[in-house]
Symmetry: C2
Subunit: 309 residues, 2 copies
């Protein structure tokens, strides 16, 4: 194989109650990346970046950094050229750096004839997350690599559990184009939380996972509650409450902050409902003087995947 | 129907990671209760209590108190006599008062021709828990009424989720006959916990529930970890660490404190393994000068049930 074009999905981390523990992949939103084999052993050269201002220095770009680490670890006798086409903006809370990192891990493993397991790909992709975000967070990259819903059962040792995704589950995302640093989103979080709040939260995690296993949309919706992180982070997201209320009023299963924001996600049963929800969310944001995008997608059961050949 | 004899199971609450949110019922350990219809409208008379020192005053005994409340609520035109045979000791951490309360709620509903839903029975049984323990805790009573594994997704409004139980799942319980008040077990708990510990805990709740849905014993075992409550409460339970280690060394899936203790439970795949685990746990306790019982049971999928007629 000399050239490979892949898709790496946008991802929603946390999923309300599952802060730092859950995530899911989108199917119809994500980056495209093209890799070309070169004879320059162990090197990675970025030849094009479209759709975002990201470093071309291979040591500073998450995608190329992951590729470098893998080529080194595998003692590969080849190098790679890399084109990145970002189809959605970084800083969205939709795992932009994770898409780059996961996509790179997935693609390089193809060139290495599947040397690494899926879990190992997540570990490599986490190096890209560490470079981009300062912390080797697993939720976005594991959702991107595994596809569907994932639970990070443990970081040490890393254990990812794939949770089944109901066929008819769709997501609507509203991305307000405001700047919000992941670090800010972290700094606003309480270091300690009341035990009784933690109990509520893990009851909801249990409910959400149970709802996913049984395709019980009502249970999913009631479980999409975050009494710990959302109250702190929503203050950074203009009109958050109004958008969430509009999504639920439209008939969505539930809604919350995607990752550390600013994107707001809503889950719906069926594409029509997800589009109706998009319309309701749009009504809140239009004429507010903030640029924004709205996406509707099914849950991407496959995650990273080959576009061609 | 003039007379009814029912079984109400012992229950394990918390199940390690699922503090205040999860529980399960045993199949081969529980109380027997016999109810007789009388013409004394709205009254409940306890005629016999075997196996434990419990109040005969109908207003002070959890079982009769629940029955009184139900007869009153349903404006029943009859009364009941009640015999309670406790098959295991109160104060065990195996939901003794819950067995009384849940058993009563279940039985009285039979006399009322199924007036109340299963969820309503839990709510009535919680009144018995409040009387006996000072707090309307739902985990033991809901496990007793629903059977199998339960998740208390929410207290307000009360929502119980039945989690599927793998056929081959068994429990071994070691009950050290030491006195331990539920209040003491509560007072030792931290009011606030680090957010990062809470994340670990809800990741494990997610893992345990996922393991139950997929009969993945390894995942269940790895998820049976409690970094918040067990470290505080195990100090009240002599030889806890040694018993837990012995259970796991024997091949059990995992082990932890049953409810607020002092009982220690271990989950196993298959009856033979559960009995082997019992043997290993027994080895730790024998000759230590503490009275104890060991029980082996499958998970009681049915919960409260009629013995006769």
């Amino acid at each position: 194989m000399e050239q490979l074009q892949i898709f790496s999905p946008a991802t929603v981390a946390n999923v309300s109650c599952g802060f730092d523990a859950m995530g899911f992949a989108l199917d119809q939103l994500g980056d495209e990346m093209t890799f070309r084999k070169t004879s320059e052993k162990g090197t990675v050269v970025i030849t094009k970046i479209e759709g975002a201002k990201l470093p071309y220095d291979a040591q500073k770009n998450a995608a190329s950094f992951v590729a470098l680490k893998m080529l080194e670890d595998a003692q590969a006798d080849f190098g790679l050229e890399l084109e990145i086409v970002k189809k959605y903006k970084p800083g969205s809370g939709l795992g932009s750096s994770a898409a780059s990192s996961a996509g790179s891990a997935y693609a390089v493993n193809q060139f290495l004839n599947g040397t690494y397991t899926t879990l190992e790909l997540v570990k490599f992709a986490m190096l890209g997350e560490e470079l981009a975000c300062g912390s080797p967070i697993a939720d976005n990259v594991s959702a991107a690599v595994y596809g569907g819903f994932v639970l990070i059962r443990s970081y040490d040792p890393l254990e990812i559990v794939s949770i089944p995704t109901p066929d008819d589950l769709y997501v609507t995302v509203l991305h307000p184009q405001i700047e919000l640093k992941t670090e800010d989103g972290r700094n606003v979080l309480p270091k300690k939380i009341p035990l009784k709040d933690a109990v509520k939260q893990w009851s909801n995690v249990g409910g959400l996972i149970s709802g996913l296993y049984t395709s019980d949309y009502g249970l999913m919706g009631r479980s999409l509650e975050d009494i710990i992180v959302e109250p702190a982070r929503k203050l950074f997201i203009p009109h958050f409450d109004a958008v969430k209320e509009a999504a639920i009023a439209s008939g969505a299963v539930g809604a919350g902050i995607s990752g550390s924001g600013p994107s707001i996600f809503a889950l719906s049963k069926g594409k029509d409902q997800a589009q109706k929800t998009a319309h309701f969310m749009d009504e809140v944001y239009k004429n507010k003087g903030i640029e924004y995008n709205i996406y509707v997608s099914s849950i991407g059961k496959q995650g990273t995947r080959i576009i061609q050949p």
